[in-house]
């Protein structure tokens, strides 16, 4: 059987500010911030105090539940501050970067000859274990388990996100090392989902799955559901191509946590790719790149579907791929939205001419952050299904989560989804429901209940 997933359902949101395939320079990060909240359900235990000197690769904190999972500093310098919020919750750990790049000595691991334990240890100590996501729930992978399979997505279909082909180019060696290591960790196989046109080289011992279709085809959850769905009781680990490269780098002895991201969106002067340090402040990354305008802009740590509007004060997500800047739109008064022909209003719905004539596909759109409607109970049916390419009834699952009916949630496939899979449902929703948040809260609650 050829490994091909062809998806028809879904939607590519055609936004202004698509990154050009070139790299721009970014100011070196003076500070990096590690945000434990970037990892779902991670409770940090900080091992350093403010004022401690750190080298790149030194442990800064570890997870309380799995103390062996370490989070390391990506740069060398001094731990400046631990920012805490309500009930002393750790919001961020700020490390000033001395720019010297002194790093801890890392062992070089050859995944072909190394044992599973050696690979695990190197990944845990090197601080790259958190790049693995465990499904169900989308949490830190439990190092003492062996997953049924490991799925790596090398296809990025999210709006304005970087093309993995460009990221892997020049880092093939690290990518291969990373994949070879994952192959050892998996009970079953390692599958790499990529487009048919991909330039990413094939790797021995790893199975390639060709994925075709609009977003969310690149979501690893969608690929798993269409290829080899997760059943109750099974666990699967996932990662994306960029994270596999970082894993490979560490195993190759290079302590380098930098990432290639896109700086994109309609408010960016020249949208492009950039190499940045994980945890770098968005203010540094965007310095001199944002258009000067009179209205308010929204700085998103991530893409427009799953990102967080942290503003310039935020710092690049641990697994960040994109920084997007769009207009906030909170001072826009659009008149008679319910009846205007809608040539200039982005909509996939045929109730406006933009949807009817397919302009939402053919034209580039500058979208702001408005909801453009009030919250309502679910009225229209069938819209979510059009953008949800999984063998799951999204609306029924959503309602089961709202009601927190655990049996129904299990039966309808809660273990196969993460909030990101519902992002497009939330985008097209006529009733403007916070779909991702509901799913996310439901997953957290469910995991606490099940463990």
């Amino acid at each position: 059987m050829a490994n091909v997933i062809k998806l028809k359902k879904g939607l590519n949101i055609n936004l202004e500010g698509t990154p050009e395939e070139k790299f721009v320079n970014v100011k070196e990060a003076k500070k990096v911030t590690l945000v434990p909240d970037d990892i779902v359900m991670c409770t940090p235990k900080i091992v350093l105090k403010a004022g401690d000197a750190v080298k790149a690769g030194d442990e800064v904190f570890h997870d309380k539940q799995y103390p062996e999972i370490k989070f390391v500093s990506p740069v060398s310098g001094v731990l400046e501050e631990v920012v805490r919020g309500d009930r002393r919750k750790v919001l961020g750990i700020v490390i000033s970067n001395d720019g010297k790049g002194t790093s801890a000595k890392l062992p070089v691991i050859d995944p072909k000859t190394a044992t599973v334990d050696e690979i695990k240890q190197a990944m845990l100590d090197g601080g790259v274990w958190p790049f693995l996501t465990q499904r169900p729930y989308g949490v830190l992978a439990n190092p003492s388990l062996q997953p049924r399979d490991i799925f790596v997505t090398a296809l990025n279909t999210a709006p304005l996100a970087p093309n993995f082909d460009i990221i892997v180019k020049g880092q093939e060696n690290d990518f291969q090392t990373g994949l070879a290591a994952l192959a050892k960790l998996s009970k079953g196989k390692v599958y790499v989902g990529a487009a048919a046109s991909t330039t990413i080289p094939a790797v021995n011992g790893v199975e390639k799955v060709t994925v075709e279709g609009p977003h969310p085809a690149g979501n690893v959850g969608v690929q798993i559901n269409n290829f080899k769905p997760i059943n109750k009781g099974e666990i699967v680990w996932t990662a994306n191509a960029q994270d596999v490269i970082v894993i490979g780098r560490i195993l190759n002895g290079k302590c380098d946590f930098s990432r290639i991201i896109t700086i994109a969106g309609s408010e960016i002067v020249a949208p492009a790719y950039a190499k940045v340090q994980a945890g770098a402040s968005l203010a540094d990354i965007l310095d001199g790149k944002v258009k000067h305008v009179e209205y308010k802009q929204r700085v998103i740590n991530g893409d427009v579907l799953t990102g967080v509007a942290t503003g310039l004060a935020g710092s690049l997500n641990f697994k960040g791929q994109t920084v997007t800047v769009i207009p906030e739109g909170d001072t826009t008064d659009e008149i008679f939205g319910w009846i205007t022909p809608g040539l200039n209003r982005y909509s996939t719905s045929n109730t406006g001419l933009a949807g009817l004539f397919g302009l939402f596909k053919s034209k580039k759109w500058k979208l702001d952050a408005r909801l453009k409607g009030g919250p309502r109970a679910l009225i229209v049916s069938g819209d979510w299904e059009r953008v949800f390419p999984m063998d799951i009834y999204p609306e029924h699952l959503y309602k089961a989560v709202l009601a927190y009916d655990i049996d129904k949630m299990e039966q309808l496939g809660i273990y196969e989804v993460l909030p990101e899979d519902f992002a497009l449902c939330e985008f097209v929703d006529v009733s403007k429901n916070p779909v991702q948040q509901v799913i996310a809260d439901g997953l957290v609650k469910l995991r606490k209940e099940m463990e």
């Binding site: 509007a309 939205g337 319910w338 996939t348 453009k372 309808l412």
Partner: protein, 390 residues
């Protein structure tokens, strides 16, 4: 100062928390959001951009789709009046007559329904949902022209409170509120809902008081064709199907013209506001059942007549396709539609107590929709369960 700035700076604060009229915020918000698209922006987490479509726009499409049927219906009210009195004062006067007969019903239905909805929204400090904007127009369109206004008011109030608000408002109701209104009228005031005298207005346009010097022509009967079907006097051979298709037969105000209803159907289908799965399968179900009955009975209307007569087409296009009360799974929609189509004709032909079955069929369909969805979703559930055991 521009209007939007004036509203945002001067008027808006009055209705916000702490403002002078904060209790009326829901009402203010419903008007404000009709004037301007709301400014609220996405939460910090979650989807940061949204599709422009909202419930207002969707409901507006339904209202636009109802316009052709309403216009032809109004004209037909005047036309039937002229036929009954044996006069002809031209299509425009006929339309005006119908307009005067129809408008007060619309006003009453909206005033009562929206009044209740707004009061409830203010109590809950929620936004006013738009659902009733469609319901409020549907109600006067599906009642006989001679229905007294107070009956419409009572029935609308009953339906909005007991069929909708107690379930939690728009989106939560089990039964179609417009049809509940109709059913309430049908059972509470049966004399005003059926018979030969309710579907044609012979008196003055506004209140049906007798007009001096006029009399109905000899041999006039205000009976609808379906009444003739029910009492066995219907003759499918001589009956003009074209009249039923175009809408110049007696009937509830806007249900008569199948052509106008189909125009509305086109809009609903093109905009994808109504499900083609439901709409088509109601017609298919109705046609199938009609064909079966026509094959066994000589006096039964033909398939085309069945689909054009009474409220069948109206129910198929505007009632069965209500997404809230219908099936929500795609597979379920086919079954739901077929069920309604078959039941509408069955009730019409075999229950002499109800000359028309469309209303009952859709309400029955509403009641069964959750069960149909349950079965459809269960097949997905059992597929998932089998995967575990395999």
């Amino acid at each position: 100062m521009k209007l939007n700035d004036y509203i945002n700076e001067k008027i808006d604060p009055l209705f916000q928390k702490g403002g002078k009229y904060e209790k009326l915020w829901s009402i203010y918000d419903s008007f404000h959001t009709f004037l301007f698209v709301p400014r609220h922006t996405a939460a910090r987490k979650g989807v940061q951009v949204h599709d422009s479509v909202d419930s207002k726009r969707v409901i507006m499409m339904v209202i636009l789709a109802l316009v052709p049927a309403a216009l032809v219906g109004m004209w037909n009210v005047g036309y039937q009046h002229d036929l009954a009195l044996g006069i002809n004062d031209g299509w425009f006067m006929q339309f005006l007559y119908g307009l005067v007969a129809f408008l007060p019903k619309v006003v009453v239905s909206y005033a009562v329904g929206l009044g209740i909805e707004m009061a409830v929204a203010c109590m809950k400090r929620e936004e006013v949902a738009e659902g009733f904007l469609a319901t409020g127009l549907l109600i006067p369109m599906i009642v006989p022209v001679n229905t007294p206004l107070w009956m419409i008011a009572v029935a609308t109030a009953f339906s909005v409170i007991f069929a909708k608000e107690i379930f939690g408002g728009t989106g939560m109701n089990i039964f179609n509120p417009a049809l509940i209104t109709r059913a309430f009228l049908f059972f509470a005031y049966p004399k005003a809902m059926s018979g030969d005298e309710v579907f044609v207005r012979t008196g003055s346009a506004l209140c049906n008081s007798p007009i001096e010097g006029t009399a109905v022509v000899d041999g006039f009967s205000g009976a609808t064709p379906l009444a003739a079907v029910a009492d066995g006097t219907f003759d499918p051979v001589t009956y003009s199907t074209m009249d039923a298709f175009l809408g110049c037969i007696p009937g509830s105000i806007a249900e008569t013209s199948t052509l106008a209803i189909l125009l509305g159907a086109c809009l609903l289908l093109v905009t994808r506001v109504a499900s083609w799965r439901i709409m088509c399968s109601v017609f298919v179900g109705g046609a199938l059942m009609s064909a079966i009955i026509a094959a066994f009975s000589e006096n039964a209307p033909t398939v085309a007549q069945q689909l054009c007569l009474g409220g069948f087409a109206f129910a198929a296009v505007f009632m069965a396709t209500d997404p809230v009360t219908g099936c929500r799974t795609n597979t379920g929609k086919y079954i739901y539609g077929l069920f309604i189509g078959v039941m509408a004709i069955l009730i019409r032909m075999f229950n002499t107590g109800y000359p028309e079955g469309a209303m009952m069929a859709v309400l029955l369909g509403n009641a069964c929709a959750p069960l149909i969805d349950y079965c459809v979703v269960n097949s997905n559930i059992s597929k998932r369960a089998k995967r575990v055991n395999a």
